[in-house]
Amino acid sequence: MGEIKKCEECGADTEFRVEGSTEGFFCTQCDWALVTTRIPAIAQDVTKYKMYLLSADPHNKEQVKALSEVANINFLQARKMAQEKRPLIIQDEALAIDKARKLFEELSIQYEIEPDFPY
């Protein structure tokens, strides 16, 4: 961004700011602002990703609990899932997959996402 946008009201410099889902150029001296929307790509992605379980320890309560939470199944079902070969855990959009991915990585649960997850 080489050029500095000048305020169209008072001529002062503006600064680029992100405020929630709004971003744009805000005057540093007055209330002028030129703004638009900022929504992260991951939130806009409507692809339905599939997350498969590669490895989890059915005797590890934390791992089973995480599986239960992500797959929205009860603890016993999750324990059974942990013993299956590459079961589908969840099919959802990118934000939900990302949340599950972070949880699994914290707990060293091995997983695979299809199609390739670009985030």
């Binding site: 961004m1 080489g2 050029e3 946008k5 169209e8 009201e9 680029f16 405020e19 929630g20 889902s21 709004t22 744009g24 150029f25 805000f26 209330d31 002028w32 602002a33 030129l34 703004v35 638009t36 929307t37 929504i39 939130a43 806009q44 409507v46 929205n72 959802d92 959009e93 939900a96």
Partner: protein
């Protein structure tokens, strides 16, 4: 008529995720809710959130004593600068079109909830619009970024769902403090690229869908 779904405040929605009971016609990951809405010059909160998902009730619970935004109906926060700017536009509800103001993307628009922002698809949006007392089946103008960017995206789907014409920007919608807007991509300097402007495109309902 103005209907806005922006970032922070006006509509309050509660999201539910996972394959649970989300209510009629709702899909996993859809938002459903207890909205706080602005209607015309009023704003309303639907009060506290319950633990179970609740389908949006529209403005049925609007209370008349909360002053907020211009336009008859507004789901947007009065503190959102995009909304503040665009509220000053001179052509509110042009030619009988029902204005919907929201942060948007090619396939969804955003509403704000007590738990954060939620992107909702055309189905949820259609329900929210239909539940507005001021909405009687008018054509719709989306003042919502990128909602007309895709031929089979949000605007077209909303047109099909409501069986009305929908106008929507084909790119980012930039709002100036005086209410002037321009449809354009973001240039290399972060400013609107005025050499490559987009337009407000008209989407006709496809009755076969």
């Amino acid at each position: 008529m103005l209907l806005a779904f922006p970032a922070s405040g006006a509509v309050s929605a509660k999201t539910a995720s996972g394959p649970q009971n989300l209510g009629p016609g709702l899909q996993q990951g859809e938002s459903i809710v207890k909205p706080l809405m602005h209607q015309g010059k009023t704003e309303s909160s639907y009060g506290g959130m319950s633990g179970s998902p609740v389908v949006t009730k529209g403005v049925g619970n609007v209370t008349p004593d909360n002053i907020v935004a211009p336009g008859p109906v507004n789901f947007m926060s009065d503190s959102d600068r995009f909304f503040n700017n665009i509220s000053k536009r001179s052509d509110v509800d042009p030619n009988g079109y029902f204005d919907v103001v929201a942060h948007g993307s090619p396939n969804k628009i955003q509403i704000e909830t007590p738990n954060g922002s939620v992107l909702v698809d055309h189905r949820t949006s259609a329900r929210l619009i239909q539940q507005q007392p001021g909405y009687t089946g008018q054509n719709i103008r989306l003042l919502s970024c990128n909602t007309g960017a895709c031929d089979t995206g949000f605007a077209q789907n909303l047109a099909n769902k409501l069986n009305v014409e929908v106008q929507a920007p084909t790119d980012l919608l930039w709002a100036y403090p005086n209410g002037k807007t321009v449809v354009a991509p973001k240039g290399v300097n972060g400013l609107p690229d005025l050499s490559n402007t987009g337009k407000i495109k008209n989407f006709l309902p496809n009755k076969s869908q």
